[in-house]
Amino acid sequence: MAAGNDLSIKGKAYIAGIFEHPTRHAPDKSTAQLHAEVAKGALEDAGLTRADIDGYFCAGDAPGGVMAMADYLGLKVRHFDSTDTGGCSYLVHLGHAAEAIAAGKCSIALITLAGKPRTGVMPPRASGAEADFEAAYGATTHNVYGMCAMRHMHEFGTTSTQLAWIKVAASHHAQHNPHAMLRDVVTVEDVLNSPMISDPLHRLDCCVVTDGGGALIVTTEAIARSLKKPLVRLIGHGEALKGPRGGKDLDLTYSAGVWSGPRAFEEAGVTPGDIKYASIYDSFTITVLMQLEDLGFCRKGEGGKFVADGNLISGVGKLPFNTDGGGLCSNHPVNRGGMTKIIEAVRQLRGQAHPKVQVPNCDLAIAHGTGGLLGIRHAASTCILERV
């Protein structure tokens, strides 16, 4: 067998369809409708029809969950999965879809994400046994990621200027994306001069809030080869969970990416140095910096130096990242970034990214994200994708 062994998902699932909803503000649409629109878009991209789908994956953003959503979409599936790990759910779904396809549980899987936080409609965040002991203290994404940045600065000397370079790189890419919410190129000074939201994170260290969504079609090699799209397949996947575990394991300087990353790289049989393009979830600038370290693109504590001076800008630096403008500038539907990370990685591997940001001969990419609250309980999922 050319692609991995029987106990691996390596090379067994292909991404045959992608669709990112062009909207960034959808007060005139329902959330379920957005799910249907992105599903339709991904099917058209793949050249398949709704009746072909026999596996469905969605997360907490799907109104009513997988049962209600599948019924709304009119799906008849033999496999489904509604794992919810926040923003990285869809990166988890991609790995799980590959497992299901490898095991013969389904052959054409649909994954959808959609929602309207910009309009003001968001499903509530689920709380666990910790609620009585934590909810009162007002943990939000801004201040919990702020605590991560504060500790990273304390331990490693990371600076706000270094974090700002991540936003600067994203903005250089977003200027070429006609759908991006923020298309203006910004400077380090612009980031540092933007209002402080939760120390040490400024407004421009934070991602955008957008309505919208995205969808994927994942299928077998045989079906993918029968379609007309360039062949892009998953060759490695890893997932992991991390929390303070009784308060003993609290360490805000690293994420569950230290486990999901190596699992994915090992399965794929490649190293960070081989990666041509990186989609890294960018809920905040600090999210990117920590993930690059955790995935092994640089050593722990050296993320600040790694991202500075345009190293993440396509055509300029060594590691082009988030060439659609990412969550920092383009799109962050439902406050969940995992789906758009996969979609831009597939565009790069197909050679269909914007010509100004397309990485030459892009044949190996990573799509990675975290979900939940990086500073408290979170998940990470890493996908290594290859153009065949």
């Binding site: 046994a129 009162a136 801004h142 939760s198 308060g247």
Partner: protein, 129 residues
């Protein structure tokens, strides 16, 4: 601060009822496992480290130091300082820093527990020593 409006009432449950009863007495309880010796927070009946059910309540010194913090400025109820404190007994916990100049907080700073009355049980907060 108007604590009664800002902080939600703890719901409580059979596993944690003793914690909330004791906060009313001004005591800050943690749990310790007598099988492995480790303390943990928030309290569980089964130790998250060794999975023994031999966990017992222990009154914490309430003393610790700031592990990290962030001053949240974008808040309808005014700025507040969220952070993690590492207790002398070992566990770290999420809290807010109160009764202090929030602009002068520092990682490593010594802090101690203070209770603030809410519309339910008093909640533990921390303040610089």
């Amino acid at each position: 601060m108007d604590s009664a409006e800002k902080y939600p009432k703890p719901q409580g449950n059979p596993e944690t009822v003793k914690f909330w009863e004791q906060t009313a007495e001004g005591k800050f309880l943690i749990k310790r496992c007598i099988a492995c010796g480790e303390a943990h927070y928030f309290p569980r009946s089964i130790c998250p480290f060794c999975f023994s059910d031999k966990t017992v309540w222990e009154e914490s010194s309430g003393e610790g130091e700031i592990y990290s913090f962030s001053l949240m400025r974008k808040s309808a109820s005014g700025p507040y300082a969220i952070g993690y404190v590492t207790l002398k007994e070992g566990p770290s916990l999420l809290t807010n820093f109160v009764d202090c100049d929030m602009a002068k907080l520092k990682i490593g700073q010594k802090v101690k527990v203070v209770f603030k009355t809410t519309d339910g049980a008093p909640l533990p907060f921390f303040t610089p020593v």
